[in-house]
């Protein structure tokens, strides 16, 4: 059961923090997916959000601020057998780590990026994050925010992600469903989670979310072909321009090869024996590589 997925480390989030919802939904998703524990890896950045791997009883890699995606990519390409999930804050993934987020879209590895969107830098005491709207002033700001907000869904489209969804930290069932679908998706995914931070963000409260979100209905997120892809993208522009935030699966696109397949297209052995499955020695001696054949171009005669 879900408690089975607790690592035993005390989650030190503030009372009422949306991260608890994500934590619960994640444990539920992992347990229902039925993947064996050691074959998963939660990779996270730095922030309140970044602590989540320590609380879940699956292997966890709590990395550097903004760098969860490169770590995760290194893990995934080396051992594609692992299910790799990235967790990070909006500051982490959409601020300092933005370059990696976009680069991941270009690669399309089978990694789900869960963005804990709380509109603030939580762990450093409430500075504006890249998702805070222009002109808003949360508790701890000296002045209203002078930067416009980014929208991770639109960036996901622009950079080639093949799974896009948005959910809400306190709707555990919805979030769990999104997580399961995102984790199962064979390609790069973004799951934006609206995560209230009762300590610093006095704008995005439960009440605000109630009034400013809706669940997508009559929207088919599955891309059928190239033409449909354009239509979908245009539709999403419309959805995201709405007054209210849409919750649900926004896009699934299976036309593009995941990164593993692309690697296999150039490294012949990759599909069957990726790096982590390859030997590097024979009982302490290097493999018996035929030097002269392999490196013939360097031989003088």
């Amino acid at each position: 059961m879900s408690s089975d997925w607790n690592s035993g480390v005390w989650p030190d989030w503030c009372p009422g923090c949306g991260n608890f919802g994500i934590f619960t939904a994640l444990k539920g998703a992992l347990s229902e997916l039925g993947i064996s524990r050691e074959k998963m890896v939660l990779v996270s950045g730095i922030g309140c959000s970044g602590k989540i791997p320590h609380f879940v009883k699956v292997p966890g890699v709590h990395t550097l601020h903004g760098r969860a995606i490169p770590f995760a990519t290194g893990i995934k390409v080396s051992n594609p057998d692992l299910k790799v999930i990235v967790h990070g804050g909006d500051g982490d993934l959409l601020g300092i780590g933005m370059g990696h987020l976009i680069a991941m879209g270009r690669r399309n590895p089978e990694i789900l990026v869960v963005i804990h969107n709380n509109g603030v830098y939580g762990l450093t005491k409430g500075q504006a994050s890249p998702t805070l709207q222009l002109g808003k002033k949360t508790k701890s700001l000296a002045f209203p925010n002078i930067n416009s907000a980014v929208n991770p869904i639109l960036l996901g489209i622009a950079s080639g992600y093949t799974f896009l969804a948005r959910s809400y930290a306190y709707n555990i069932e919805h979030l769990k469903a999104c997580l399961k679908q995102g984790i199962s998706h064979s390609g790069a995914g973004i799951l934006e989670v609206i995560q209230p931070c009762p300590t610093w963000n006095n704008i995005v409260t439960m009440d605000w979310v109630e009034k400013n979100t809706y669940y997508l209905k009559d929207w088919d997120p599955v891309v059928k072909d190239d033409e449909d892809a354009v239509k979908k993208a245009q539709g999403i522009i419309g959805i995201e321009a709405g007054e209210k935030k849409a919750l649900g699966i926004i896009l699934t696109d299976r036309r593009k090869d995941p990164f593993g397949k692309r690697l296999a297209s150039v490294y012949k052995r990759y599909a069957t024996e990726p790096p982590a499955a390859q030997q590097v020695d024979k009982g302490g001696a290097p493999l018996s590589i035929d030097l002269e054949k392999t490196f013939h171009k360097f031989y003088i005669h």
Binding site: G74, Q279, A285, P286, S288, Y299
Partner: protein, 630 residues
Amino acid sequence: MDLNFIIGGPQGGGIETAGLLAVKALAMHELEVFADREYHSNIKGKHSYSHIRASDERISSIKYPVDFVGALDVETIATHYKDLRPGGVLIHDAALLDKPITKLPPMEKERLERLRAELEVGNVGTTVKELDEWLERGGKVVLPFPFSRIITERAKLASPMIEKAMNTAIATVLLRGAGIPLDTIREAIDSLFMEKAEAKELNRAVASAVSDGFDEVSRTKEMGTRSAIGKVPARGKRMLVAGNDAVAIGKLIGGLRLQTYYPITPAADESFVIEQHSSLFDPEGELVGSPIVIQAEDEISAICMAIGGALTGVRAATCTSGPGFSLMVEGIGWAGMNEVPVVITYYQRGGPSTGLPTRHSQSDLLFATSSGHGEFARIVLASGSHEETLYDAVKCMNLAEKYQVPVIHLLDKGIANCVTAINPPTLGKIERGKRIGKGAWEYRRFAFGDDPVSPRAFLGEELMWYTGDEHDESGHISEDPENRRRMYEKRMSKKEKILREVPDEDKAVLFGDENFEDLLVTWGVTTGAALDALTELRATGSKIAVLQVRMMEPFPDGFLSKFLSKAKSVMALEANYIGQLAELIEWNTGFEVKNRILKYTGRLITQDEVVNAYMRIKGGEERVVLTGGE
């Protein structure tokens, strides 16, 4: 015999190929070779040259003045005529004779000014022809070779092709002048253009034509009389490699399975070589390994991806130079905190900042040993020759896994781009360090024990956690002061363990007589110049030895002290301003390194410079700053 020559021209105009062709032919002639490549941070048009040295004895540096200069353009003539020894030969296309010699837009402003001043003082004139005459008057030999005519007539090349063939043409004359037979030159061409049939034919034709011409043009004889190479005995199988190649080969032999990189000079070629040789076959033709190479979006990503790979148990590495390393610092700290075996091949180039991106330097030593906030154990190993570089590439991966620390393989542009012949490697051993299999008991990645190195399990095998925060044995965040102290000591005490266990020859190597009086301490590619100078100096009776330092961190103070304490005087030889190795030595051993021979112009330190600087120090100078080379 000891032959030095320069072959120069505009970058991107075949000059690199000409150099390679020459080195290859000399090596095929069973000579020892050492060649430096100098080029601007530019793709086409700026001045570039190779300084090639060949000898029948072991050499590991270049030497001035040179015997020949082969010039593809006027800028080369204007830049390198000064490099010729008395009686040395300048070869260029006769078609250049009427060209003005100081109207050279691509030439560096400062150099042009110096050139103008020199020409004025010598009252030389303004055309190549006038310069040639002046050189002849000064005891040099100038050979304006009718390349264009010969190539058109004999190789039947249409004139737009001539420029493309000029590199092979000049290389041919230089090689013939050095006594290399046409057959060997053609063999070198075949090998160089192995996969390009058309280019091969064209270059063969040009070489033949020019070679015939060579025998006819009368003054070419003067080259041979000055620098003849006789037939030399076969040396068995050898490989011709740049340092980039040596690292790539070493990494591939050593079991590398993930290489990440972001392009940067002079590191990027290494990744390209790995990519090109990523299918590893055994003698039965079976694919026994296939590492992957990932081009990252930046260096931050490169190091983080490599670390991620290492956590899954694959041998993972990245390579970069200064600017990229600066960006990797945070990631390396994470690897230090999490005891991750990862290898960073660090090619130094001229700094600070973008600096001289394509030029040599050894100015990142202190940065490599102390980069990163906080304290953690790391290994910094510096190689001094191409052969050592190859073996060290394997060793670095072994050390990383054995001690579970990040390892910085510290190289330089000199090693990266210089080309030399090495013996094919013998396969050494692979040490993967302490491992734990799938176990039933509760695994703790950072378990305390007598040994600071805890057994490793890989992601995918066990439950484990990693964090850049201070952590407990399981890898969970802990701010407890007592746990902090123990974990800190666990990590830091690896330094002593490493110092205890790493064999002496990987710490430092003494060359020359044990009964030395003067000890010349050096490292990196500069070791080669020191060793060549050592031979020369000892022949004239100097009581000098060379101490090459290899392990820079943890610093082998005890081992070094043995030699330092014996020396009457210690002098450092390095390509930086403050004498960074000298500082490390003073700091760690307490011995003073009073004399310093330094160079920071971005050019290699040469054998003659070392000899000369040694003399000046014996003459009482404390600090000698070298400035040779263009």
